[in-house]
Amino acid sequence: MMEIEKDMDVEGTHIIVRQRTKETEKTLDYDYKKCAGCSICVALCPKKALQEGPLQEIAKGLDAPPVLIDLDACVFCGMCANFCPLKAFKMTVREIPKLPEDAEAKAEAETASA
């Protein structure tokens, strides 16, 4: 089975989640300053990985993200990014360049000999 790694970072108002496989790195960048808490993404997430935050408190001035991301549940399908009316979610996919075949073989041989 293909290995999948995930991690989460917070940079200012950005919540950044990442998924890495041997072929791609997918990044979902949620800028909660842009988010109005409309919850379209919550309703639409096929894995129910998004959840409403403390919306009432936020409306009263609490500085917190209106949508919470469950990293374990998220599969990086990108639907939230596609549907968000305020573009608070941004999804980027970076292909991980494959090592040239002989280089790969060489690397394997090296590890084997090591």
Binding site: M1, M2, I4, T21, E23, P46, K47, V75, C77
Partner: protein
């Protein structure tokens, strides 16, 4: 136009009643007759040689033989005149044996008079005969098989082994049908997939079979020998050729789980899945309704076979024949609300039971209560759920469910001997080789049988209770079970309706496809070149489905193996200058042979020559090559030229049943009066109301139309069309002042000579009551004259 007339003695069969010399003398004087002879046995070599000699000597270009029924010797005389260089269709027969001498043995004078009329009618018709040449059309030897269940697989393999190329189109991503999902099968309890699996891979590997799965037929054009079929292969989102069938790599990373339709909802599958481990082709498939597009499978696939940008493919196939093996679907048990299926978790269907018992199924062969996951210790099987039940519209017996429950009960009992099993049944139907023995075996294993149709299932505190009347003891009972298995019936596959419409297949009241004859043509459809196999034409067991698949294959091979098809030149044709494009004929044609693009066009390969379109055409733009309007009208006129009898009846008899019945009356020597002058037509629907009016106008006292019994028409529903026309015609007669009773339509099967004679006698009596034609008009004017 020299015509030769031959009056046959048939030994004394004809000459013993009719005065054949008088008939010969009468024939000689008829217009255009160059020679008339009476022959001892016209069908003998001597008789045939005489006809052939005369053809040369008198330069005859048409021949009338007054002898037995054309249903007996028309082919003989056609061959005889063809040998002498005449076109075989330049022959007309007057049936003076079965429909004259044999049925009027006590009335020689009247019978001779009738024979004269019959000969005059035949001569009049013969003058209008046209040479016809049977056309040969090249046909495609390829065959389309729709449906990859066991019947379709059997058909495809037989055809492919015989050298025909087969396109096997299957709607699902794998072939195998329902049989591939069953556990062991009755009555031998051998493993279903173990016997079917090898056949499935044989299909996949056969050089003569193109397997097209996950595809649907979108269009069918053309007719027997040359169908053009449009097929759409849906996007599977996986390249079948690249996929290695490893199953797990893609589906393991897929985040979406949905109920597995191949386990009938008791198990789960991913959005990317292989239906089951033995699937053919062994390739994954993405369910577009479930997929969320995360593309993990794309990355996970080591063969790079997942292609989420795949689009549906459409292509056209040219085939000579189509075998419909679209199968069945289980009755939706939620429709029997009283059993709580879908609400009570411990109420399941036979198919779910099959999957549970299957070692590769969702429970790995364990029979559990879905509510608790524990082994079920007490199981009830409820028979006839959705079968033999008018409340859900299924009166028929689904035929396999008794045996399936007996089998499942045995399998459970063998696996868990302590289990208490009860089968609730109306009747146990175990008719088949080894079936009764199988039933006895179940009884010996200690399975209980209660004769009851369960009226309700209740669930109380998580337990289910069956409520029923034991009809053997008359007691009302309420019994608890761990698990209730609904023995759901078989219904025709809903998805096949589209194909049925495209091919023009008709349906029985039970909604399964109708076969051409309920006994004699079990795998043929009404449409030429289309065959039906397996459960598409009704519930069937596996061996019968296989037999039907092979039978359909044999029929298709018989049809196509020469590569050419000879067309009977009896078809309809359109006079394009007259056609107004009203399209009436299109709906009437039982063979879907007529299309109206510019003027109407008859596909002569599909036309079977019933002539209903010619009768229906309001402008007479359609006519028949044989049994043309002109020829039939000439017979009507000849029949009424000399009103030699009272009441005089012109009778139109359909070739298949009523003409056969009239012949049978002859061979059975059933005696009836001589009043009818019979005209053979291919179908009662051929009778154009104008023929009837012409007969009455020229002085016939009544017109009889006889067809096959309703529902038994050889062209599907021609007799209903005839009935409708007669009903309209009766209204017309009433308007013009004639008694509507002067037209009568009757039905008789070819086996009902007695009924034909009885109907005719009744009609004669009715006509005598009415008086000669026109009596009613005189009466009316007389009444008007009175103060």
């Amino acid at each position: 136009m020299p015509i030769g007339v031959y009056v046959c003695h048939c030994g004394l069969n004809i000459a013993g009643v009719l005065n054949v010399e008088e008939l010969k003398a009468f024939a000689e004087k008829l217009p255009d007759v160059a020679v008339a002879r009476d022959l001892q046995f016209s069908c003998s070599d001597i008789g045939q040689e005489q006809i052939q000699k005369d053809i040369a000597e008198y330069k005859l270009d048409r021949v009338v033989v007054a002898a037995c029924s054309p249903r007996l010797h028309e082919p003989t005389f056609r061959r005889a005149i063809a040998k002498a260089g005449l076109n075989p269709y330049m022959l007309e027969m007057a049936n003076i044996r079965e429909q004259c001498s044999w049925v009027h043995m006590d009335q020689p004078a009247l019978a001779t008079q009738k024979a004269k009329d019959l000969i005059r009618m035949a001569v009049a018709k013969s003058a209008l005969l046209k040479p016809l040449i049977p056309e040969e059309i090249p046909v495609s030897k390829d065959v389309l098989v729709v449906g990859g269940g066991v019947a379709g697989i059997a058909a495809a393999l037989d055809l492919a082994d015989a050298g025909h190329h087969v396109f096997l189109v299957e709607r699902r991503p794998t072939i195998g049908g329902y049989m591939a999902l069953l556990t062991d099968v009755f009555p031998t309890n051998d493993c279903s997939i173990c016997v079917l699996g090898p056949k499935m891979s044989e299909v996949f590997n056969h050089p003569n079979i193109t397997l097209i799965t996950y595809a649907e037929v979108l269009g069918v054009e053309g007719s027997v020998g040359n169908f053009t079929v449009t097929v759409q292969k849906r996007a599977r989102y996986v390249d079948e050729k690249l996929c290695k069938g490893c199953i797990n790599e893609c589906s393991a990373v897929c985040p979406v789980e949905v109920p597995n339709e191949y386990d009938f909802g008791i198990g789960k599958r991913k959005a990317i899945y292989v239906p089951y481990p033995q699937a053919v082709p062994l390739a994954a498939c993405v369910d577009p309704k479930a997929c969320i597009g995360c593309a993990r499978c794309v990355e996970a696939c080591p063969a790079a076979a997942v292609k989420l940008d795949q689009t549906p493919e459409e292509f056209k196939l040219n085939v000579g024949a189509v075998i419909v093996a679209t199968g069945w679907q289980p009755f939706d048990a939620t429709r029997k609300e009283e059993y709580g299926f879908g609400r009570y978790r411990d109420v399941i269907t036979t198919l779910q039971m099959e999957r549970m018992l299957n070692a590769s199924g969702p429970t790995k062969g364990e029979v559990v209560r879905p509510s608790t996951g524990e082994i079920a210790r007490s199981i009830a099987f409820l028979q006839c759920v959705g079968s033999r039940d008018a409340t859900v519209g299924n009166i028929y017996c689904s035929r396999i469910c008794c045996m399936a429950s007996l089998k499942n009960a045995q399998l459970v009992k063998e696996k868990y001997p302590e289990t208490d099993i009860t089968i609730y049944y109306i009747d146990i139907r175990a008719c088949g080789e080894g079936y009764e023995e199988f039933y006895v075996r179940a009884q010996k294993l200690g399975i209980n049988f209660v004769r009851a149709r369960v009226s309700r299932i209740d669930q109380v505190d998580g337990d289910i209770f069956l409520i029923f009347e034991d009809t053997q003891t008359g007691e009302f009972k309420r019994v608890r079970h761990d698990l209730a298995v609904l023995s759901v019936g078989l219904e025709p596959d809903k998805n096949a309706e589209v194909l049925g419409g495209l091919l023009g297949l008709s349906r029985r009241p039970d909604r399964f496809f109708e076969i051409a004859h309920p006994k004699m043509r079990p795998v043929e459809a009404h449409i030429d070149g289309v065959f039906i196999a397996g459960c598409a034409s009704g519930p069937k067991e596996i061996p019968i489905s296989i037999a039907q698949g092979s039978a359909a294959a044999a029929k298709a091979i018989k049809l196509l193996h020469k590569g050419v098809l000879e067309l009977e030149p009896t078809s309809a044709y359109v006079n394009q200058d007259i056609c107004s494009r009203c399209k009436l004929c299109v709906d009437i044609c039982p063979k879907k042979a007529i299309s109206v693009k510019s003027p109407a066009y008859v596909d002569e390969a599909a036309c079977k020559g019933c002539g209903s379109c010619a009768a229906a055409c309001p402008l007479d733009a359609i006519d028949m090559r044989l049994f043309s309007d002109e020829q039939i009208v000439a017979q009507v006129r000849a029949a009424t030229e000399e009103k030699s009898e009272y009441p005089l009846i012109v009778a139109f008899l359909c070739n298949w049943c009523s003409y056969g019945a009239a012949d049978l009356a002859g061979t059975s020597r059933i005696q009836y009066p001589t009043n009818a002058r019979n005209i053979r037509v291919m179908c009662s629907a051929r009778v154009d109301p104008s023929f009837v009016l012409e007969a009455l106008r020229r002085g016939a006292d009544g017109v009889l139309i006889a067809g096959c019994r309703l529902g038994e028409c050889h062209y599907h529903n021609g007799n209903y069309q005839a009935l409708q026309r007669v009903n309209v015609l009766k209204g017309v007669l009433e308007k013009i002042g004639l008694d509507p009773g002067r037209v009568k339509i009757v039905w008789c099967a070819a086996s009902e000579g007695e009924i034909f004679a009885k109907d005719l006698k009744e009609f004669i009596a009715e006509l005598k009551e009415m008086g000669p034609i026109g009596t009613e008009l005189k009466k009316k004017s007389g009444e008007a004259a009175l103060p």
